[in-house]
Subunit: 655 residues, 2 copies
């Protein structure tokens, strides 16, 4: 990973800044902390709020989505239906002696990597230690010493590691046996992997008999409001719901800072679309020209990770992306990420492999951001088909579907069946109901065949289950039933919408964007800068009086008040540090603008405005400066515009 | 409860609107729902976001508070220290036969109320049924029939009901026995009340040995970040942290809609202040003139609920409110509530009775809003003293305190103790350590006395616990110790800050404000209006084309786009309903402004702007209309201002 200056990203320094300036810190540190839980301090909290605020404008406001706020507490039955109770699990191994618990894939990975390192040492090859990765581990991997491995073994280990995300529990168990993988700390045996459900369980109400979970995603709550929202939307399709809120996953071994945590903020959209007509999108023309780096399924199957740059129009036309609607959202996601500061060169869209997707999914593309941990999945954009609405409807009987009046009534020719029910009792006795049900369930093809039998032989034989006699067929005469072709007219079309789901992990996006905007300024000592776009930056303006001279104070207060009225967040740094030092401290916080109050300001009420990225300054009167700030913060103008409009100021030495 | 027109509030109609327009609805309804869990639909969700956004501007931005986002998952140890594991409970009774569970105070209340109703019937008195209250009950209270009660019994029941919130478990148990209270459904006996902890429990991590809870308040997370925030604030006091987030309480019997729920949004401030110097506040002068309706402790003790209207300056001067800082926040809370639409006539501040407050609290005032359920506690404003920081510091050893350099070093005269430690071993052998510890722990008074003993007798007797011999005293000669008066100079002052905590229940505020702004417009049929202040209203502008004529569409789209650019939310209603009907529908949603696009608009690009509350209209060109909308939505101008500036429009009949 390199920063925008082309220099390698110094992750250690960045981590130090993030911790020191309270972007986020481990939660409950005074109680020795809990893995996978983080608190956001003031700049991180505001950054998070600005990102979600931009998200709301970019998606909800722009597209008239129906935002909802559903509960996190979720009854078990809902998550049983959705499949989470049975399938939302990772594989874990326990060392019965020490009590240590490992995530099975992480264990295999750790042990094989250590052996490969030992092999390199034994062969006298250079060993590159990823310090950042090591530093984040809760415990160091035990040095297994320099042991040479056979070439074939090295190859096998490497191939296993490359596919480590794709093994199921049984396969991981086989690998553990085959490679004789032990507890890396104690050398003890580990038990075979067992599934560990990742949901936090609790019980709701005083009687303890209503099991509940903390939601693992906001999606299920949204699906259950579908019917109400459709009605709210006056039955108009397509439409989307959206939800911003915390979700929870009880990770076995949280790691990589904000990238794998137990409580996290999500922003999810459920866009409901008619599955007929190719899932077109009315605004697709607005995005079809946008060029993206795609990593499709075929390329991955060929073993390559080479990006293909093409426009979304080309991708949909070539059926690389499944539909216009899916493609539309992929581009909208891309534009959002760029808007909040992600580096376009470090964004790719990776298509899920067939075995990665849920069986019901039609297509899925992840927006991945390049970080010092590699490419990180930050947004998923899946076509979940009609799966979720269907399973909840089936379970509860609720009509989670769309009923629309057909423009042209649909005429359906079909084989209709008439029964003389009065005669059923005397004829079939106890079996009457079973025979009736079997008849009603007959398919069109079978009905057609039976109508011929009735015409030809006067009777028909049908399969019936559950007969009192134990037989599996009964014979029915034409005195009891008749079958004939009729035309039925259907005025209403009923269908279950498909769901396109863009799902954003805000914490992962926040961390990745921080890496993208971080760089070091050259100078006597390297100084970190976080170049957030102004609309996203936690604080917009730093107010700096030249010194503690009392004349400056009223001017600073007045400016602060004016900016607050414009709803522009600002902070005063009136410490005794040099102006350069004070600006430097705020470059670390990503504050894009600085205003200096000096003796000239006292005389003529003019102020200098400083740009964080270029460190250039302009000078103008209060009103002009405030207006410039407003246009920069709202993203209406760039610093280049301002520099063009206002006279440069070079007298002060602020570096 | 009356609305602003002086008519009684029709709670049934209001509830119907809130449900039909999806402000909020019971969660998981397709799964038959879970008591105490609600989803916010689009207007409720936006209303909630606008209220928290206003909160952030009013408190966080205005006062430079340090906003944090702490986790909801909380390890049990933290909540053990804070007292929640032991004390955060309600009393519940179980009917062992039926399995029914009751909140003990609710059970007593329900049964006694039913008996009083029966008595009235028996005496032929009028029985007023609170329909709204009855409608919200999960089950109807069984009609116990018309049974006359003795006058003394009626009085006793009424006195018990008046004090129902103040009984503990044992007292409730006594009442149940004394009044022979049974399960009102089955008539079965109930077991004595037991404490039921209101926190949702779960376990964190795969090993199930780290117990955790969902936080019952955001406060504890904030206290644990105190040290980091103090450092972030460059050690400057006073300062405040703030947190907006969900909290959870496993209510035994949730009821009254949003007023008693199991998952709810809170916004809390922890303002840290030096306990010395009377807890002054630098901005108190800005609020001292504000007049409020107070219900102080003394008035309540006298059995009255009469409000005293006085300025906050008077209240603090008369020591009715404990400190300037507490008083400052009480007024700020009041101003916030009014800003988001609460009716000043329906806001009171009630002081907690001594037995209502936690033992450590110095003072506490609740902001209560009058609703059809009575006065509802919506904001608590407590002085929690140094309690929380102290208990966490004691438990963990973390220095949760402020260390500040004294302006004048403090000189302390004290009795200093010097030991000749080398001689301790030979003299006291195994007891050396115990004797040393006992000496170090001596108080100043004892030291003074012992110094005299040493001077007079050459030896001193001290109390020591844990001596090998089992004795409790030892004698020490002046060859081993000396005690003399010395002056110590302390340059640093160390203290634990006190915490003033304004804590807002956003859901309760949201519901109460809805009741305050609701009224019915006179007309052929009563039509509900929600008169939210424009900055809080879910949607700001309704765009209404006169008809479906194609000429209107581009104008409507253009207006919508312009308003979106100004970040003003708007919706189009181009249905075929009459303009009056369309406006009426949006009055229910509280949309403050409407713009009509008519044939005149097509000709000259002028539009009419309609005010929800007066239904008056003005007409002007696009730019002027947009500007007027912007100033109204930002709260910079009122409709009266706009009506003064722009020509009235009366031609269209929109009613």
């Amino acid at each position: 990973m390199t920063t925008k200056t082309g220099k390698p990203l110094d992750q250690k320094s960045l981590d130090a800044i993030l911790k020191r300036r309270l972007f986020y810190t481990p939660a409950f540190e005074v109680y020795n902390g809990v893995a996978g839980l983080y608190d956001y301090g003031p700049p991180g909290c505001t950054l998070q709020a600005n990102i979600t605020d931009t998200w709301r404008k970019h998606f909800v406001l722009e597209e008239d989505m129906l935002e909802v706020d559903c509960t996190m507490l979720t009854p078990a039955e809902v998550l049983k239906t959705s499949g989470h109770v049975d399938k939302f699990a990772d594989w874990m191994c326990k060392d019965p002696k020490s009590g240590d618990i490992f995530r099975a894939d992480h264990l295999v990975e750790e042990v094989l990597e250590a052996r490969l390192t030992g092999n390199k040492k034994a062969r006298g090859e250079e060993v590159v230690v990823d310090e950042a990765k090591e530093a984040k581990k809760k415990r160091k991997t035990k040095d297994t010493g320099a042991i040479k491995l056979e070439d074939a073994v090295v190859k096998e280990y490497e191939e296993t590691l490359a596919r480590i995300d794709n093994y199921d529990g049984a396969e991981l168990g086989q690998l553990i046996t085959k490679f004789e993988i032990k507890n890396p700390v104690t050398g003890g045996d580990v038990l075979p992997p067992v599934a560990f459900n990742l949901m936090f369980q609790t019980s709701i109400g005083p009687s303890s008999n209503l099991a509940g979970y903390l939601r693992p995603e906001t999606a299920q709550g949204q699906f259950l409001t579908f019917q109400k929202l459709l009605e709210f939307n006056q039955q108009a399709m397509p439409f989307a719901s959206a939800c911003i809120g915390k979700s929870f996953r009880n990770e076995i071994s949280p790691r990589q800072g904000l990238l794998r945590v137990r409580e996290f903020l999500m922003a999810e959209i459920e866009h409901y679309v008619d599955p007929e007509g190719g899932k077109k999108h009315p605004r697709f023309s607005e995005v079809r020209h946008v060029k993206l780096g795609l990593l499709d399924r075929k390329v991955q199957l060929s073993g390559s990770t080479q990006l293909t740059y093409m426009t979304m129009g080309e991708a949909v036309d070539a059926s690389i992306v499944d539909s216009e609607t899916l493609g539309y959202f992929v581009v909208r996601i891309y534009l959002f990420l760029v808007r909040i500061g992600a580096d376009p060169q470090k964004i790719r869209f990776r298509q899920h492999m067939a075995n990665e997707m849920a069986h019901y999914a039609a297509d899925c593309w992840d927006a991945e951001l390049l970080t010092s941990y590699g490419w990180i999945e930050c947004v998923g954009c899946a076509d979940r088909s009609a799966y979720d609405l269907s399973v909840h409807a089936k379970k509860t009987g609720a009509p989670l579907c769309v009923r629309e009046t057909r423009k042209e009534p649909l005429k359906i020719e079909e084989w209709a069946l008439d029964l003389d029910k009065k005669k059923f009792g005397p004829t079939f006795k106890k079996d009457s109901k079973a025979v009736e049900a079997a008849l009603e369930a007959l398919t069109q093809d079978v009905r057609e065949k039976l109508s011929l039998d009735l015409a030809n032989t006067g009777k028909a034989e049908i399969q019936v289950t559950g007969l009192a006699s134990g037989d599996s067929t009964v014979e029915i005469g034409k005195d009891l039933i008749s079958i004939e072709k009729r035309t039925r007219v259907e005025h209403v079309r009923e269908y279950t919408p498909n769901v396109i789901e863009p799902a954003f992990g805000i914490g992962r996006i926040l961390y990745s964007v921080i890496e993208h905007v971080y760089w070091s300024r050259e100078g006597a000592e390297a100084r970190g800068v976080l170049s957030f776009p102004p609309p996203v930056a936690p604080t917009k303006v730093l107010l700096v009086p030249l010194s503690t001279h009392p004349d400056f104070k009223p001017l600073v207060q007045r400016l602060g008040h004016k900016l607050r009225q414009l709803e522009i967040s600002n902070r005063v740094d009136d410490s005794s540090a040099s102006i350069g030092k004070r600006y430097s401290r705020n470059d670390e916080l990503g504050t894009p603008l600085g205003v200096t109050v000096d003796f000239q300001s006292v005389k003529d009420h003019t102020f200098t405005l400083r740009d964080r990225d270029t460190t250039k300054q302009v000078r103008a009167d209060e009103q002009t400066i405030c207006k410039a700030i407003e246009s920069l913060v709202k993203g209406q103008k760039t610093w280049a515009d301002i520099q063009h409009e206002l006279p440069e100021f070079t007298q002060q030495d602020v570096d």
